[in-house]
Symmetry: C2
Subunit: 430 residues, 2 copies
């Protein structure tokens, strides 16, 4: 890299504008650490005149980001728009083709087009870095690519979405229902005000899991059908019952190699309150890696917000300024294999099942008979009558059983007059 480096930022939302400010603030520090002088020569966003947290210099503003390449010589481009396709993909593609290094926090883009874009980067001998796309300020990708590089990683899991972790923690703490806490999260800027769906339904965490799998196991990004569940169906009631049982609900992302096959999932889990993961609360993220010879290692930090994201974007910048070209996924794209997906049906867990039933004799035995028919053995039953409404809640903790088995077993409860709604299922993490 030459000693004068031209930088462009496309996208001036929360993250882009914070980064803009940080780049100006840390210019000297960056020069001291790398010997390179950075010049912010172009910025772009949809609206030039929007009110922003920091003032922008309008004489470097471009309404059409694709024009930047024609007007300025850019060395490093920050893509901060955040779409999985559209202008995000177009601008990154164009940049790489023009031999411009790209840094992005965009997990949706990388999870969907990461393989293609990394080949493009390698072909054009530039860097494509995306540390900020997973777990905010935690330098987990660099740690896997470099710090744990020669380990054989078996499994990576953790809390990868700050929004949902905040909501679950807050529901338990305040005994307020989902919708109330969601509005609070939106007010505090932890959840998207318009459309928080991608956080809540597990999609965001899943994109991160896909990226972690590719890096940890040196494979192509998978596109297998996996179990992806969010927290939309977690009721305050479940959180309270779990708490009485010494458990806590967490949205976990998990990727592991089972019998040589890839298994990726995101779903709510019941974890023990006295475990490490059970005590990662609020907007915190945590990633746990299990490898040989390092054993288990844990990284925890703020998972969201422009501060932590900026920290990771700047670490990518320094990496590019200091070093030579690196493979986006740690090894050459040619050497990244595609591996078979583990059959979800065989995924096996202890389960928490909550039934809302009519308070009638025989309903409990109806349920337990059905479970027993599928050889699902029961570890614990808690029945709570609601005499006034002639209802009862039956919570059952089962021993381990497979997904296919429980699905077949529960199917009958979709239309049974004594079962008031389809039972809530939460897997236990062991």
């Amino acid at each position: 890299m030459k000693s004068n480096v031209n930088i462009a930022i496309v996208g001036l939302g929360q993250v882009g504008i914070y980064l803009y400010n940080q780049l100006n603030l840390k210019k000297k520090d960056i020069e001291k650490k790398t010997g390179k002088k950075i010049n912010l020569v172009a910025i772009s966003a949809r609206n030039k005149n929007k009110r922003r947290r920091f003032k922008i210099s309008k004489n470097i503003f471009y309404s059409n980001p694709l024009l930047i390449f024609k007007k300025k010589k850019i060395d490093i481009l920050f893509e901060c728009v955040g779409l999985s396709d559209g202008i995000s993909k177009k601008i990154v593609e164009q940049a790489l083709k023009n031999k411009i290094n790209v840094i992005t926090p965009n997990k949706a883009l990388i999870a969907k087009h990461g393989d293609y874009l990394s080949i493009l980067a390698e072909k054009n001998k530039v860097n494509l870095e995306f540390e900020a796309s997973v777990a905010g300020g935690i330098p987990i990708l660099r740690t896997i690519k470099e710090g744990l590089a020669t380990n054989k990683i078996r499994k990576v899991y953790g809390i990868l979405n700050g929004t949902t972790n905040y909501i679950l923690s807050e529901m338990e703490k305040t005994s307020q229902p989902f919708q109330v806490v969601l509005r609070k999260a939106q007010k505090l800027g932890y959840a998207e005000p318009g459309n928080p769906k991608l956080d809540l339904n597990g999609f965001d965490a899943f994109a991160k899991i896909r990226i972690l799998s590719a890096l940890s196991f040196n494979i192509k990004i998978s596109n297998a059908n996996s179990i992806m569940e969010g927290i939309e169906n977690i009721k305050l009631e479940d959180i309270k019952i779990a708490s009485q049982l010494g458990l806590r609900v967490k949205l976990l992302g998990i990727t592991e190699i089972i019998k040589g096959q890839l298994f990726e999932t995101v779903h709510p889990c019941l974890v023990n309150k006295n475990t490490y993961i059970g005590n990662v609360n609020g907007v915190m993220n945590a990633v746990i890696t299990e490898g040989e010879p390092v054993g288990q290692s844990v990284m925890q930090g703020e998972g969201a917000g422009p501060g932590p994201t900026s920290s990771s974007l700047l670490s990518d910048l320094l990496s590019i300024l200091r070093g030579n070209i690196k493979y986006p996924f740690g090894i050459s794209s040619k050497k990244r294999k595609r591996i078979k997906a583990f059959n979800n049906n065989q995924y096996s867990n202890s389960l928490y099942l909550r039934f809302e039933v009519q308070d009638k004799q025989g309903v409990l035995s109806l349920i337990t008979n059905r479970l027993s028919k599928y050889k699902i053995s029961v570890k614990r039953i808690i029945q709570t009558p609601d005499k006034k409404n002639k209802k009862a809640t039956i919570v059952i903790i089962t021993h381990k059983t497979t997904e296919i088995n429980i699905r077949n077993c529960l199917s009958i409860f979709r239309k049974n007059k004594y079962i008031l709604k389809f039972p809530t299922l939460i897997r236990l993490y062991n």
Copy 2:
């Protein structure tokens, strides 16, 4: 780095021999990840015929490690002897002068001679890497140098010694006294069988703190007089009383910038049982960094043993094989400043004081009067009489006070006939 790389290992103790085996096992994986072929061309240890965990090839064995440089062309040397001076220093010095990259887990060497050796490395344009010197398998140095590179780090603290953390955890768990648990730790290989002193007295953790300070604050390694206390004086009684108060004893290392001055310390702390750090038990290490803009981030992992150490040694190897020359401490030695040390006397904490006294009227007021004379206010007093022996234990938790003040205050108790031994002091971490 050329594509055929010659490697030497000096020191074949627990770590060296494990590394030797790993290098043989991971040759192909390393080639896949870096495109470089590694050849282990020389090994050295004091005793050629010692029984070792893995077989060594004796035709590459050197009794005198300094001869290696004369006989073979070496590109990368692993120093695994572990002394702060002597042959460790000599061999690293010689290697760097011969333009050979050096990788070492030797914290004693780096904490003592790191500044000198890094200048030597920079002058000869080779790498000196020491990831394994701090917190075993946790890639904390690389995280500070790269992942958090543009953050302004204010403070780094944590549990940096696995031996003492195991002993403290095990004392609490089993109610066995220090000496018994120490023998158990030695049997399990967690503590040095011959001389565990450097772990127990805080020296080992302190060397790591010195290295962390230099990296986190971009300063020279400090040699100021600091507060360094180990766990030798922690009694089972203290652990039990702490437990009743919801507290747990941990040996913490702390480095921070206070009013522009460097404050480094290692001493036992009482931490809340329900905090994160209070739940890092056994041989685990944990490092917490506080910085801007990233916020607080946590890394936890196995802190000792040849597996985690090897993981870090190999990550250094990959870093060298992949990249160009990097500054050992992240920035050029010329730019690393020396900063003033914070006056230890002004270090201020709430304190736990345990007095063993004669069970006589007036002793408690003797103590409280003395405290009050020094304006040390008391938060809590627990007096437990031992009628049979005409003794009593008085535990006092104070509000915050400075080191100098408490030292002056307590001095009188060295020779008072009612006070049976000089009081035990443990600082509370807040």
